[in-house]
């Protein structure tokens, strides 16, 4: 189950988001149940009165998980680069989940701005985790820009639709065999995460599927088990699908007809 991401050894292939939980306490419990070693966080333009933001930062640090800040809400490369620098200063990490939104409704990435931002941040010493679509050529451009990790979507953020284009994801895995690939966004149930892992993806990042479950803590555990099962299945070698039946019992001919 262990693997290396950005020169860091991780024992969990489950990356978990921290947004939208019923309470900070449930968030903490869900992180614990998930055994995720990487959690995503964000920044917001604000100046809250009282402890607020500092409380959250302290709470999430207590989980012991590695923080992966995002640039959610950014619409241009310039915005994303600026936010990334602020995230590095605030959270003390050079890891950045790079999001540059191109459409208000689907929240799908603006791939042109994304590649531009990725190149600039890679030059500035960031470890860029780009949230991208499943487009192979764009993924290659991101690698050319200095990314070592790619995070193609399963489906639009928060939609819970699962993997809407498994063919494209399979293609990415096949064409980029040595790249760290993490399915990010759109995961709805453990079934979706299992499928992503069975396709050979290195990890899964999800948030809403846990936070919006009736029981987020139990769901975090369910996802943990599913992600482990999917990875074990991939490593065990899944049998090839056949169009027709292939007998399993080793009889020859028909039992009562000579």
């Amino acid at each position: 189950m262990s693997f290396i991401v950005a020169d860091t050894l991780l024992h969990s292939r489950f990356f978990l988001g921290t947004a939208g939980y019923p309470s900070p306490h449930i968030l903490q419990q869900a992180v614990a149940a998930s055994e995720a070693q990487v959690v995503t966080v964000g920044l917001k333009r604000q100046l809250t009165q009282g402890a607020g933001a500092n409380d959250f930062h302290a709470l999430i640090r207590e989980t012991g998980s590695r923080l992966l800040p995002n640039t959610a809400g950014c619409r241009t490369a310039r915005e994303a680069v600026t936010l990334a620098h602020m995230a590095r200063e605030l959270f003390g990490t050079n890891w950045i989940k790079l999001e540059v939104v191109g459409d208000e409704y689907t929240l799908q990435p603006d791939l042109f701005e994304l590649v531009q931002a990725a190149a600039e941040l890679a030059r500035a010493g960031f470890e860029v985790f780009p949230y991208c679509t499943d487009d192979l050529v764009t993924c290659q451009r991101l690698l050319d820009a200095g990314c070592r990790i790619l995070m193609p979507w399963g489906a639009p953020i928060g939609s819970g639709q699962g993997l809407i284009n498994p063919y494209a994801l399979r293609t990415l895995r096949a064409r980029l065999p040595d790249v760290t690939l993490i399915v990010d966004a759109g995961i709805g149930s453990p079934h979706d995460a299992v499928l992503a892992m069975e396709l050979g993806f290195d990890a899964v990042l999800l948030n809403s599927a846990v936070a919006q479950a009736h029981d987020p803590v139990a769901m975090a555990r369910a996802f943990r088990l599913g992600i482990e099962a999917g990875r074990l299945a991939f490593e065990a070698g899944i049998m090839a699908r056949q169009d027709m039946a292939v007998p399993t019992t080793p009889v020859t001919g028909r039992p009562f007809v000579l």
Partner: protein, 69 residues
């Protein structure tokens, strides 16, 4: 001396001329380490705030940690 007019997170603010970003942050009562700053869309590092002098019409933004997916 003529005061300058800036915005802080979109809200108008009047300051003494030659006010630095660090001095502005100090007036908010927030710990400097608990937020990050940008002026006119450009990141200003914490260590640079004390010599970053604010100018007329500057747009100052402060960012704090939040939950995220």
């Amino acid at each position: 001396m003529t005061p300058i007019h800036i915005t802080l997170n979109g809200a108008p603010l009047q300051l003494e001329p030659d006010t630095t970003l660090a001095e502005l942050i100090a007036t908010t009562g927030h710990e400097p380490q608990g937020l990050s700053t940008a002026v006119n869309g450009d990141f200003v590092a914490r260590e640079s705030r004390s010599h970053h002098v604010l100018r007329e019409a500057d747009a100052v933004f402060t960012f704090q940690p939040i939950t995220g997916g």
